[in-house]
């Protein structure tokens, strides 16, 4: 400290007022947020590692299996059971076992088998329905399966088909099969744009929400309020820094799925980039609004989950949202994640251009602008 009468080279000599040296407050805030972010190893992991973990897990779960095996338990109750087992044994797709009725039932109930085939005695059949069959007595089977499990339903149909043929059925119509397993038409290709949309949503909401509430708890928002900084610049700084964190997140997801699963973008990369920025903008705006008044991390977490839950379920991340009833379709279309994922799929899978998506783009822009404006208005700084 200098002596009283020769003040240190303060004020006038060192004062500067050139705004070009001191970047805009918003930019400085963004830089500060970026620095904080890269110095936080956990945050970096979650942003960069999480999408990869997600793609790997789902990619493995939904990888194209060589031949799908169907497990069948046959109730061992006589020669017709052995005959059925023999018939199924001709196709290596079926793995069949001969078991007691009780055992088979337990297997089905616990998911160890997809289907239980119980051969019935043809005699009872004849009594019930006069059979037109000429070559001796037609076999009769009872299928036990779980209609809520797709693989169980599949097994029932496949086994029935095989047994019917073995019993002499002839197909009347001729059919031809084309298998969709080239890149671009697999489930993983469908999934990646969905995951991209999901991470834009999660990143925008969590990223903005947590940071904002954390700063509120630390009284940092109040401290900033006491400076001449404009409130809108502060909020914009938070949004822009969030957008920047999305770059590595998105790149990692796209590059990884490209090299690990050969997922390609059939549209323009510029269009994908525009969608990423647009999605980032929309969801960080929503994040700001959700975090505009919350005073605790618990409160903001609850609110964010509440906001995200319908989109997780309805917006078509894992399967097409068109599967839901027509009555809820208008509602689903209102959710911001729905048009985002639809556009990402359109561009990446079908090579569509963004030009045709005017209304959807407008919808997302509106979400971003309106939530930002509302957040600015309701924001609690103390």
């Amino acid at each position: 400290m200098s002596a009283v009468h020769s003040p240190p080279p303060t004020a006038s000599s060192d004062r500067d007022s050139a705004p070009r040296i001191w970047h805009s407050p918003m930019w400085q805030l963004v830089v500060a947020r970026l620095r904080e972010f890269v110095r936080e190893p956990e945050a970096v992991f979650w942003v960069c590692g999480f999408p990869v973990v997600m793609v790997v897990a789902l990619g493995i779960a939904f990888r194209n299996k060589p031949v799908e095996q169907v497990t069948v338990d046959i109730v061992a109750n006589g020669p017709s059971a052995t005959a059925a087992a023999e018939a199924l044994g001709k196709n290596e797709r079926f793995v069949s076992r001969l078991l007691s009725p009780a055992e088979a039932r337990t297997h089905l109930r616990t998911g160890k088998t997809d289907l239980v085939v119980a051969p019935l005695t043809p005699a009872t059949t004849a009594a019930d329905t006069p059979s037109p069959s000429t070559s001796g007595v037609a076999p009769r089977y009872r299928y036990e399966f779980d209609p809520t499990r797709p693989e169980s339903v599949l097994a029932r149909n496949a086994v029935d088909d095989a047994l019917q043929r073995a019993a002499g059925r002839r197909d009347v119509a001729e059919s031809e099969n084309v298998e969709l397993n080239e890149p671009g038409a697999r489930y993983i290709d469908f999934l990646v744009p969905g995951l991209l949309g999901m991470s834009l949503m999660g990143g925008g909401l969590w990223g903005v929400g947590f940071v904002t509430v954390d700063m509120r708890i630390r009284k940092l928002l109040k401290r900033f309020l006491a400076t001449p900084m404009r409130k809108s610049q502060f909020l914009a700084g938070i949004m822009v820094s969030r957008l920047l964190f999305m770059v590595p997140e998105v790149l990692i997801l796209l590059v990884f799925s490209r090299y690990a699963f050969d997922v390609r973008n059939h549209g323009s990369f510029l269009d994908v980039a525009v969608l990423v920025v647009l999605g980032g903008f929309t969801f960080s705006g929503i994040g700001l609004l959700v975090a505009s008044r919350a005073n605790t991390i618990e409160a903001v977490s609850g609110l964010m989950n509440l906001v995200m839950l319908p989109m997780w379920m309805l917006s078509g991340i894992f399967f097409s949202s068109e599967r839901f009833p027509d009555a809820v379709q208008p509602l689903i279309a209102l959710l911001p994640l729905t048009p985002l994922i639809a556009m990402l799929r359109g561009v990446m899978l079908e090579g569509a251009s963004l030009v045709g998506y005017g209304p959807q783009i407008l919808q997302l822009l509106l979400y971003g602008v309106v939530t930002f404006a509302l957040a600015l208005r309701w924001f609690r700084w103390t």
Partner: protein
């Protein structure tokens, strides 16, 4: 010239029940002085200073800061004031210099971040992370952020609370240095020694009101004596209050009060009073158990006016 003028300030926090944190507070702070709001916890110091900083809205009353008014000249005021809140946790992952630079760029004009750090003697820590600083260093960093906008008026809410004595003295030097540049400081504290040694003028605040205002010297002089004599008597059936009132009638004794089972006198000219007090006790037959004298302090002023100690919590109504 007046830096802060505040007339009949009232702040009621709505709620159940509503809290009247500030009840008609009047304050005038001149430019170039270091002014202290001294009062116990809950007296309304933070509420008052945050209203002056424009962070809280007053329920009623008039506030003028640097001749300007909140609600009309917000940007002009904000450009000219620097503040440090009672509690702010700056980002731990940023370095000291980055933090000050961030605050610098929020103001149109200011001093360089390095100079702001030099003024609080944190140059050596410029590249350290905020999370690695000690409590005193963090507090100095907060002050550095407050002065980097080159303010005319500095608000500091409990700047030294919780700091060790060396750090406190270091902060006092920083604050004095700022004041010596002709600028104004308004600080709050519940340490009477801080108010006494650092502040040019002090307002003692209790229950949301200023109960005394002036230089520390004036306030202490208002006790009517610059020394305090504390007398402990052996418990032998004497009527303490009778003893106290007869001691209080001695010349140069301005007041005599009962406290903690003893008698506390406020006296002038200790060398003359002490023999007289001893003689009077002798006359009354009181058995002296303990006797202590000390210089009067702002604490004694507060005790006299509020009937309790500064360290006592608000709410223990007199």
């Amino acid at each position: 010239m007046t830096a802060i003028r505040c007339v009949n300030l009232v702040k009621r926090y709505d709620g159940k029940p509503p809290v009247d944190a500030v009840r008609g507070l009047n304050l005038t702070v001149e430019r170039g002085e270091c002014f202290g709001l001294l009062g116990p916890n809950g007296a309304g110091k933070t509420t008052t200073i945050e209203i002056l900083e424009g962070l809280l809205r007053a329920t009623s009353g008039e506030v003028e800061v640097l001749g300007l008014r909140w609600g009309r000249n917000d940007d002009a005021i904000k450009q000219q004031i620097g503040i440090s809140l009672q509690e702010t946790k700056l980002s731990e992952k940023l370095t000291v210099r980055e933090t000050v630079t961030l605050f610098r760029c929020l103001y149109r004009q200011g001093i360089s971040p390095d100079l702001a750090l030099a003024q609080v003697s944190l140059e050596e820590k410029a590249d350290a992370r905020v999370g690695k600083l000690s409590g005193g260093q963090k507090q100095r960093l907060a002050v550095s952020c407050a002065i980097v906008g080159d303010p005319q008026l500095l608000f500091l809410d409990e700047p030294t609370t919780g700091l060790d004595p060396a750090s406190r003295r270091q902060l006092w030097d920083i604050i004095r240095n700022f004041r010596d540049q002709g600028r104004t400081v308004l600080l709050t504290t519940h340490y009477m020694d801080e108010a006494e040694r650092l502040c040019d003028r002090v307002a003692i605040v209790d229950h949301g009101q200023v109960i005394a205002q002036g230089t520390p010297r004036e306030l202490i002089a208002s006790l009517g004596g610059d020394h305090i004599v504390e007398i402990g008597l052996a418990r032998d059936g004497h009527d303490l209050s009778a003893v106290a009132s007869s001691l209080g009638r001695l010349p140069k004794v301005s007041s005599a009060q009962l406290e903690n089972g003893g008698i506390v006198l406020s006296v002038q000219d200790l060398h003359l009073v002490l023999p007289a007090v001893l003689a009077e006790l002798d006359r009354l037959g009181g058995n002296l158990d303990s006797l202590a004298t000390r210089q009067a302090s702002l604490e004694d002023v507060f005790v006299k006016l509020a009937g309790r100690h500064l360290s006592d919590e608000e709410g223990t109504e007199p």
